[in-house]
Amino acid sequence: MSEQIPIHKGLFTWPSSRPQLLGSRCKQCGETAFPAQVDCRSCSGRDTEVVELGDRGTLWTWTIQTFMPKQPYHSDETEASFRPYGVGYVEMPGGVRVEARLEPSTREQLAIGMPMQLNIVPFRTDASGNQIMTFSFSAVEEDQAWK
């Protein structure tokens, strides 16, 4: 039976009913990194811990990828089936801005400052039929915004 497998270990909690992005926080200077790393880019310390960064954030900047990237891009798409996707940095409550694919993919749907919601989504299928999962953000729907 096919499984859902994260594209890389340690990027997000999975499986989970409410997945969170994972990063690291420096115990010396308090700065946060994504993905988690043992070394601190801010103070050169080596004492960091893995922390949850949250599953909601606000959009700090964005663009739209209109053409299919060359290798190392590795999806199931062909030039014919490629669909433009959004890319942005999402400001997370965990204290870092994370670069991610965005599900909104037109300029009308995207604005700096809009609330965003983390999703763990199938990205491609591997040779054994497993779904390779990655993270992306979508707009927070109106009725969820206040929760």
Binding site: E31, W60, T63, I64, T66, P69, K70, P72, H74, R107
Partner: protein, 380 residues
């Protein structure tokens, strides 16, 4: 002791289907030697580099096996700037009097496709389509426009100027001016940047002959002085390309640091510069770099562009040869093309694109992956 530039050479940018990248580098060296009235055997040292066209020190197979010190330099988009910095230091130290720097490249068509492992990143980052320089530059200008009130009009005006200047530059790749409407209506590549707002990977070569300034007058009546060469990398918090995350606090870009260091070395300020080359990977970066290099405040670019201040006849001419937008970007050669153009302007040899009123101080700036910047200041 000071460092002089006594010879400049360029192999035209664009496409040279019958020449390898190395041959284009050799052509640039020969042109620079001829300009200085020197021969390859006079060179005591060389620094050079390319991204995709081979090891620069293989040039000795074309130019001659003279046993000189030849050091390959590879430093991303700052490769040319780093070669020049190394040569500047070699002469300043007193070790050598005379040498050459060379940059060349020949890239495959289409966007660059960097590999995550080469940049210390895991494969998922490239596989999921986040590792494109075009995306980064689009996101940087998107935020910048939001913070500083820059409009799409400014992006169009930068490209319009670039192609107008390219049409006046015999060595430029893009020789056709484009109208405001051509640019404003071109396909959206990476919002807010359109097709004619991005430079393309290309081919070409550039070389400079450097000399101890005390001895420069043996070779030329009009040596130029390389007053400063600075290369700096990113700070924690700089908003940079190939970064899966960014700190909440945005720190100065490496451009700001390199620029300050160069002005300090030269003992002058931005107000003293008569002609400048600012990295224009896309039209947005030229706008950002005007302020990051100290030539205006953030947000003033909108009005400056509307007033034509950065045009050849304006009060702060930027990218007089059409910059990367009109010349394309052979990564290894690009930074040295900038210095070549500033030297042409300071010598008064710019022809149709000559900046009026005898410019005396020139400035060049590169910026690129993964957050590295090089600045040079050249005077008469």
């Amino acid at each position: 002791m000071e460092v002089a530039i006594i010879g400049i050479g360029l192999h035209r940018f664009g496409r040279s289907p019958d020449m390898s990248g190395l041959q284009q580098g050799a052509a640039a060296v020969r042109a620079a030697l001829a300009d200085a009235g020197l021969s390859w055997k006079d060179m005591q040292f060389a620094y050079g580099g390319s991204q995709d066209a081979g090891n620069a020190d293989s040039l000795v197979n074309e130019l001659g096996l003279t046993s000189l010190q030849f050091t390959n330099i590879w430093n991303g988009c700052a490769t040319g700037g780093s070669s020049l910095h190394a040569a500047y230091s070699a002469i300043k130290s007193g070790q050598y009097d005379l040498g050459v720097v060379v940059g060349f490249d020949k890239h495959p068509r289409g966007a660059f496709n960097p590999q995550p492992a080469d940049w210390g990143l895991d494969d998922w980052y490239g596989e999921t389509g986040l590792m494109l320089t075009t995306q980064f530059f689009a996101m940087k200008i998107q935020r910048y426009m939001h913070d500083h009130g820059i409009s799409e009009d400014a992006l169009v005006r930068v490209s319009e100027k670039a192609f107008a200047n390219g049409s006046l530059t015999p060595t430029a790749w893009r020789q056709q001016p484009l109208s405001y409407a051509d640019i404003a209506n071109s396909a959206m590549v990476s919002d807010p940047l359109r097709k004619y707002m991005f430079c393309s990977p290309a081919e070409g070569g550039a070389a400079l002959i450097l000399c101890n300034a005390d001895k420069a007058r043996q070779f030329t009546r009009k040596p130029l002085l390389l007053k400063a060469a600075a290369v700096r990398t990113r700070h924690y918090g700089s908003f940079e390309v190939f970064a899966p995350s960014q700190a909440m606090h945005v720190a100065d870009a490496p451009t700001v640091t390199a620029s300050r260091m160069a002005f300090e070395l030269a003992g002058i300020g931005p107000e003293d510069v008569d002609v400048m080359q600012l990295q224009d990977t896309d039209s947005g970066t030229e706008i950002i770099h005007m302020a990051e290099n100290g030539f205006c405040e953030h947000g003033e670019q909108e009005q400056l562009l509307r007033d034509g201040a950065t045009q050849i006849g304006g009060r702060m001419p930027v990218n007089t040869d059409g910059g990367c937008l009109a010349n394309g970007e052979p990564v290894g050669a690009s930074g040295l093309r900038q210095v070549y153009e500033v030297c042409v302007q300071l010598r008064g040899e710019g022809g149709a694109r000559q900046v009026p009123n005898d410019p005396a101080v020139g400035y060049t700036h590169v910026y690129g992956a993964p957050g590295v910047s090089g600045v040079n200041i050249i005077t008469r």
